[in-house]
C-alpha cells in the first residue's frame, strides 16, 4: 500500500509537516497491554472504591434497579457502534427509538414535544433558560436557591457571558420557593422563573401557582426535574412552559457522575426555539412510515452562529437505555417503583424521627429524598457512620451555610428495610455519645 501511495515508509507520509514539530521519539506512555491486563487494571481500581457500603446519597444521582435487558439492548453492535442518524435509510432503528424516547418524555412530563437528549440535567436546565430568553427577549432570570447547586453553577457559568442576570430566590420553612419573594421580584423584564421539583431538599414544588406568577408578568416557568421516577406518582408540571429533566434514574448507572441524559420538553408552539436533535415521523417514496431528523435548521451545522444551541453529539445511547428501561417497567412498573420509593422514604423518616435530636427540616411533601436537622456537625456524624460501612446523607452546609446542621437523605426501592434500620440504629448510637 505504501508503494501504491508512492512513499517508501510511513514516516514519509508526514514529511510535509514542519521538521521541528515532528516527534523524534515515541510518546512517554507505558507500553500497550493485553485485554486481560486492562481488565485487571480496572478491577484493581474498582477495589479501591466504595465496596460493600450502604448509601443514603441522592442529590441528583439515584440508585434504582436496572433490568438486565437494558444493557443487552444497548450493547447490540447495531445500536452501540452506529453513527448519528443523518442517513435515514440506514438508521431507522435509531430514529424510531428516538421517536419513542421523545414520546415517553412527553408522557412523563405532560409536555407536547421533547428533544432527543441534551448532555445532562444541568445543561438541559441551562439550555431551557436560554430558550426562555430567546422566546421572551428578556434577560433577567429568577432561580430558586433550592435548584441543585451544581445546576445553578453551570447556569451561572453560561449566563455571565450572555448578558443574563441570575437572581436567587430563597425558600420558606416548607422547603419550597418563597412565593412572596418571587412576587416581589417579578417584573416584565423577567424571562423565566426556574425551580426544581422535587427540589434539592427533596420537596415538591407547586408548579401551577408558580406558572401563574410567571405568566402574570409575561415570563415563562422552567421546571427542572432531577429524579424522574417521581413522575410515576407525582403529577407532572403541565403548567410549566419548559421542562428540563435528567433521565439518569431511568436505567443509567451512577457511574461516578456520567454519562447521563438531559431532556428539554416544551409546548409545540415553542418547538422552533428548542435546542437539540428532533426525530420526526414521515413517509417514504412508497408511502411507508419512517423517521428522520427534522427541523435541523435550528441546529449548529446549518444555522452556525444563529443556532439554538451548539450541541452536536448528544447522549443518544443513554436515551436509548432510558427508553428500554421505561418500556420494561411500563405503566404499572413505574408506578410501583415510585410507590416503593415513597414508602421507603416515609419509613426512613419515621425511624429517624424516633432518634432524640433528629428533626425533619421542611414540612413540604417529599418523594424519596428529605432533609433532616441533626444536633451536631453532619461531617462528624458521617465520619462515624463510615466506620459502620454506611455512607451517610449529604451535608447541606457547604452549599447552604444557613443549613450547616442539615443533611439530605435519599432512600430508593433498592434500600432494604434492614439497611434503613441499621442506619437509624447507628445514627442513634452516634448521637447518644458525647460530642
Amino acid at each position: 500500500m505504501l508503494a501504491e501511495c508512492g512513499v517508501a515508509s510511513a514516516e514519509d507520509l508526514f514529511s510535509h509537516l514542519p521538521d521541528d514539530v515532528r516527534l523524534k521519539q515515541p510518546l512517554a506512555l507505558e507500553p500497550g497491554i493485553s485485554e486481560y491486563e486492562i481488565v485487571d487494571y480496572f478491577r484493581s481500581r474498582a477495589a479501591e472504591n466504595a465496596n460493600g457500603y450502604a448509601s443514603f446519597l441522592g442529590a441528583g444521582v439515584y440508585a434504582h434497579y436496572r433490568p438486565v435487558m437494558v444493557d443487552t439492548v444497548v450493547s447490540r453492535g447495531e445500536f452501540l457502534t452506529s453513527y448519528t442518524p443523518y442517513q435515514a435509510e440506514i438508521s431507522q432503528g435509531t430514529l424510531q427509538a428516538i421517536f419513542e424516547f421523545q414520546t415517553l418524555m412527553c408522557q412523563l412530563t405532560g409536555q407536547e414535544v421533547a428533544n432527543a437528549s441534551m448532555w445532562d440535567g444541568s445543561t438541559a436546565t441551562t439550555e431551557a433558560v436560554l430558550m426562555a430568553e430567546r422566546l421572551t427577549g428578556r434577560t433577567r432570570v429568577l432561580v430558586a436557591r433550592s435548584l441543585h447547586p451544581e445546576y445553578r453553577d453551570v447556569l451561572k457559568t453560561y449566563a455571565k457571558n450572555l448578558g443574563l442576570t441570575i437572581e436567587d430566590i430563597g425558600y420558606t420553612k416548607s422547603g419550597r420557593i418563597d412565593t412572596a419573594a418571587l412576587k416581589a421580584a417579578i417584573r416584565d423584564d423577567v424571562a423565566a422563573i426556574v425551580v426544581q421539583s422535587p427540589n434539592f431538599f427533596g420537596v415538591i414544588e407547586e408548579a401551577s401557582a408558580l406558572a401563574e406568577v410567571a405568566h402574570s408578568a409575561g415570563a415563562l416557568l422552567v421546571v427542572s426535574i432531577a429524579e424522574g421516577v417521581s413522575l410515576g406518582l407525582v403529577k407532572p408540571p403541565v403548567e410549566a412552559d419548559i421542562v428540563a429533566m435528567e433521565a439518569q434514574s431511568f436505567g443509567l448507572a451512577p457511574s461516578y457522575g456520567g454519562p447521563f441524559a438531559g431532556v428539554v420538553a416544551s409546548r409545540e408552539k415553542f418547538v422552533r426555539q428548542m435546542p437539540g436533535r428532533l426525530a420526526g415521523q414521515t413517509v417514504d417514496a412508497e408511502g411507508k412510515r419512517g423517521f428522520v431528523l427534522t427541523l435541523a435548521t435550528r441546529e449548529q451545522h446549518i444555522r452556525r452562529e444563529k443556532a439554538t444551541s451548539n450541541i452536536c453529539t448528544n447522549q443518544a445511547l443513554c436515551a436509548l437505555a432510558a427508553t428500554v428501561h421505561l418500556t420494561l417497567l411500563g405503566k404499572e412498573g413505574l408506578r410501583e417503583m415510585a410507590e416503593q420509593n415513597l414508602a421507603k422514604a416515609q419509613f426512613a423518616l419515621s425511624e429517624l424521627e424516633k432518634i432524640p435530636g433528629v428533626k425533619r427540616a421542611f414540612d413540604g411533601p417529599f418523594f424519596n429524598e428529605f432533609t433532616v436537622e441533626l444536633p451536631r456537625s453532619v461531617r462528624m456524624v458521617n465520619a462515624d457512620l463510615l466506620k459502620e460501612k454506611i455512607i451517610g446523607p449529604l451535608a447541606l452546609g457547604p452549599n447552604y451555610p444557613e443549613l450547616s446542621k442539615n443533611a439530605l437523605i435519599c432512600v430508593t426501592e433498592t434500600t432494604p428495610r434492614g439497611e434503613i434500620e441499621r442506619f437509624a440504629a447507628a445514627l442513634k448510637k452516634i448521637l447518644a455519645q458525647p460530642a
Binding site: 407525582v234 451512577p254 457522575g257 414521515t282
Partner: protein, 504 residues
C-alpha cells in the same frame, strides 16, 4: 444493470415492518418485577397531597419482556454500524469500538460509584481520571487538562471561556473570535454562546488559513482564532507556528479544534506547534462508541497560562499520593457540567490508550496511509479540488459527476446499495459538492479496496446510467424519506388514537 455481480460485501436488511412500542401495548402487561415491598405501603394521597397525586403515566407502554427484546432487536437490524462495515465519514473517525472497554466500564465498583461519595472511598475513580489526564497531556503536549466537558462542542465552549477569563484578568476580554470558513458548525455556534462575535476568515487557494489576511484581521479586538488542524480538508496547516506567533504578538490566543487528532497522535503534538488550548473528541480519536449520536466527551487541554481558570473540581495530588477533587479555585470559570464529566466515557478512552501505549502512533500512520491509498485510487474518478498532501481524510468534489446532474448526495445514497455507509456530504462548505472520506486505521486493505471498487463503479454509473444514481438507494426498506413534509408539519411524538369519550 445487475448490481449483484458488483456487490461483494455482505449486506443485511430486514424487510419486516415493526410498529411503535405504544402500538403493541396491552393494558396490564409488564416486563419487570420488583422485589416485594418489605415495609408498609405509604398512603400516597396523604403523603403527597391530592394536588400532587398521579395515577400512573397515561399512554405508557405495557408489554411483556419478550415483546421488548423483539421490538428493539428488530429495530436494531435496520441500522448500519461499525460492527457491520466501514463508515467512510470524514471528520467522524469511525474506528472500531473495542468491546473490552464496554466490559470495564460496567464493572461493579466502576459503574456503581456515586459522585458525592467520600473521596477517600473514590481513589480508584480518581486514579483513573489522573492517569487519563497524564496520557492525554503527553499526547497533546499541553500542561493542564479538564475532563469535564460532555462533548466536543462543550469542549469548544470551555476553551473559549478559559480564553475569555484569561483576557478578562488582564483587563479586556476582547470582542471577537476568528473562524475559518471551513470550520465545523459548532465553532461559530459556540463562539456566540461564549459571548463573542464571529468574524469569518476565508481560506486561501490551497484551502489553508490565509496568513496574510490573518495578519490584517488580528487586532486587539480579537480574542482568538479557532483552527482545526489538520483542516476539515484533511490537510495539515503548515504555517501554524507562524499563525500562532501572529496571534500571540497581538495578545490573542490559538484554539485548536481537535476533531482531527487521528492524524496527529504520536506524530506531532499541538502543544509543540503553538496551540494554547484545544479540545479532544474521545468518541472520535479515542474509540469510545458513537451510540447513534452520543455520549461522547470533550476534554480540554491547555497551556499553563490558562490553568488557573479551569472548571471545578480540579484533580489534585495530596501528600502520600492521595488524590482529591478541589472545588475552591478563585479564578475558575465555574462548572460547565454537573459532577466531574462523562466518567463512563473516560473509562473507555483510558482502556483504549492502555491497550496502545506509544503504539497510538501506529494507529495514526495506518489511518493516514489508508486515506492516501483511497485518494490515490480515486483521484482519476473524482475531482480533487485541493492538491496538498492529505492526512487521515481526503476531500473530493462532485464536479465531474455534476455534468450529468449527479451530485454528492446522490453518490452517497448509491453507496448504500454497495453496502457502505455514505461519506460526509456537502461539508466543508468551502468545497461545493464535497465528498469527505476518512477510512480510519481500523479498515483493512481488503475493505478499502471494496470501497474503492464501489466508488469507481458509481462514477461509471454517473457517466453512463446517471438515473440509477439519482434515484438511489434501491435496496433499502425505506427510500428517500420525505424530509420536506417532516419539516412542514412536524410529528414529533406518538399520540393515542382519539377515543370518543375519554380526553387524551
Amino acid at each position: 444493470m445487475d448490481i449483484n455481480s458488483k456487490i461483494k460485501k455482505a449486506t443485511r436488511h430486514t424487510n419486516q415492518s415493526e410498529g411503535l412500542i405504544f402500538e403493541k401495548s396491552s393494558p396490564g402487561k409488564r416486563a419487570f418485577e420488583l422485589p416485594t415491598l418489605d415495609i408498609p405501603k405509604a398512603d400516597a394521597a396523604k403523603a403527597l397531597g391530592d394536588s400532587h397525586r398521579r395515577e400512573g403515566v397515561e399512554g405508557f407502554p405495557e408489554v411483556s419482556e419478550i415483546e421488548v427484546v423483539r421490538h428493539f432487536t428488530r429495530l436494531s437490524t435496520w441500522n448500519y454500524a461499525i460492527d457491520l462495515g466501514m463508515y467512510p465519514l470524514g471528520s467522524c473517525t469511525m474506528k472500531y469500538n473495542p468491546r473490552v472497554n464496554e466490559f470495564v466500564a460496567r464493572l461493579d465498583g466502576i459503574a456503581t460509584e456515586h459522585p458525592f461519595q467520600p473521596q477517600e472511598l473514590s481513589q480508584g475513580c480518581l486514579k483513573i481520571l489522573r492517569l487519563l489526564e497524564k496520557c492525554l497531556l503527553e499526547i497533546t503536549g499541553m500542561d493542564a487538562i479538564t475532563l469535564q466537558p460532555a462533548a466536543g462542542a462543550q469542549g469548544e465552549l470551555t476553551g473559549l471561556l478559559l480564553i475569555r477569563a484569561y483576557l478578562q484578568k488582564q483587563g479586556n476580554p476582547r470582542k471577537k473570535v476568528l473562524i475559518p470558513d471551513s470550520a465545523h458548525g459548532t465553532n461559530p455556534a459556540t463562539a456566540v454562546i461564549a459571548g463573542y462575535a464571529v468574524e469569518n476568515i476565508k481560506s486561501e487557494s490551497h484551502g489553508q488559513i490565509d496568513v496574510d489576511k490573518l495578519r490584517d484581521l488580528v487586532t486587539e479586538d480579537v480574542a482568538a482564532l479557532m483552527i482545526t488542524n489538520p483542516s476539515t480538508l484533511g490537510i495539515f496547516e503548515e504555517r501554524i507556528p507562524e499563525i500562532s506567533q501572529i496571534l500571540h504578538s497581538k495578545g490573542a490566543l490559538l484554539y485548536m479544534d481537535g476533531a482531527n487528532m487521528n492524524a496527529l497522535a504520536g506524530v506531532t503534538r499541538p502543544g509543540d506547534f503553538g496551540v494554547d488550548v484545544m479540545h479532544l473528541n474521545l468518541h472520535k480519536t479515542f474509540s469510545t462508541p458513537h451510540g447513534g449520536g452520543g455520549p461522547g466527551a470533550g476534554p480540554v487541554a491547555m497551556k499553563k497560562i490558562l490553568e488557573p481558570f479551569m472548571p471545578t473540581p480540579v484533580l489534585i495530588e495530596k501528600e502520600g499520593g492521595r488524590l482529591a477533587l478541589e472545588s475552591v479555585r478563585p479564578d475558575s470559570i465555574g462548572k460547565v457540567k454537573a459532577f466531574a464529566g462523562n466518567f463512563g466515557v473516560l473509562v473507555r478512552a483510558l482502556a483504549y490508550i492502555l491497550a496502545y501505549g506509544p503504539g497510538v502512533r501506529q494507529a495514526t500512520e495506518d489511518a493516514v496511509l489508508n486515506a492516501n491509498y483511497i485518494r490515490k485510487h480515486l483521484e482519476n474518478d473524482y475531482d480533487l479540488p485541493y492538491s496538498l498532501p492529505s492526512m487521515h481524510e481526503v476531500v473530493f468534489s462532485d464536479a465531474l459527476q455534476k455534468k450529468n446532474g449527479v451530485n454528492t448526495m446522490d453518490i452517497a445514497k448509491r453507496l448504500i446499495d454497495y453496502g457502505f455507509h455514505p461519506y460526509t456530504t456537502a461539508f466543508p462548505l468551502i468545497v461545493p459538492g464535497a465528498l469527505m472520506i476518512e477510512p480510519t486505521e481500523s479498515e483493512s486493505k481488503e475493505e478499502c479496496d471494496l470501497f474503492i471498487d464501489a466508488m469507481k463503479a458509481i462514477a461509471e454509473e454517473a457517466a453512463k446510467t446517471p438515473d440509477v444514481v439519482k434515484t438511489a438507494p434501491h435496496t433499502t426498506r425505506v427510500r428517500r424519506l420525505d424530509e420536506t413534509a417532516a419539516a412542514r408539519k412536524p410529528i414529533l411524538r406518538w399520540k393515542a388514537p382519539a377515543k370518543s369519550s375519554a380526553a387524551d
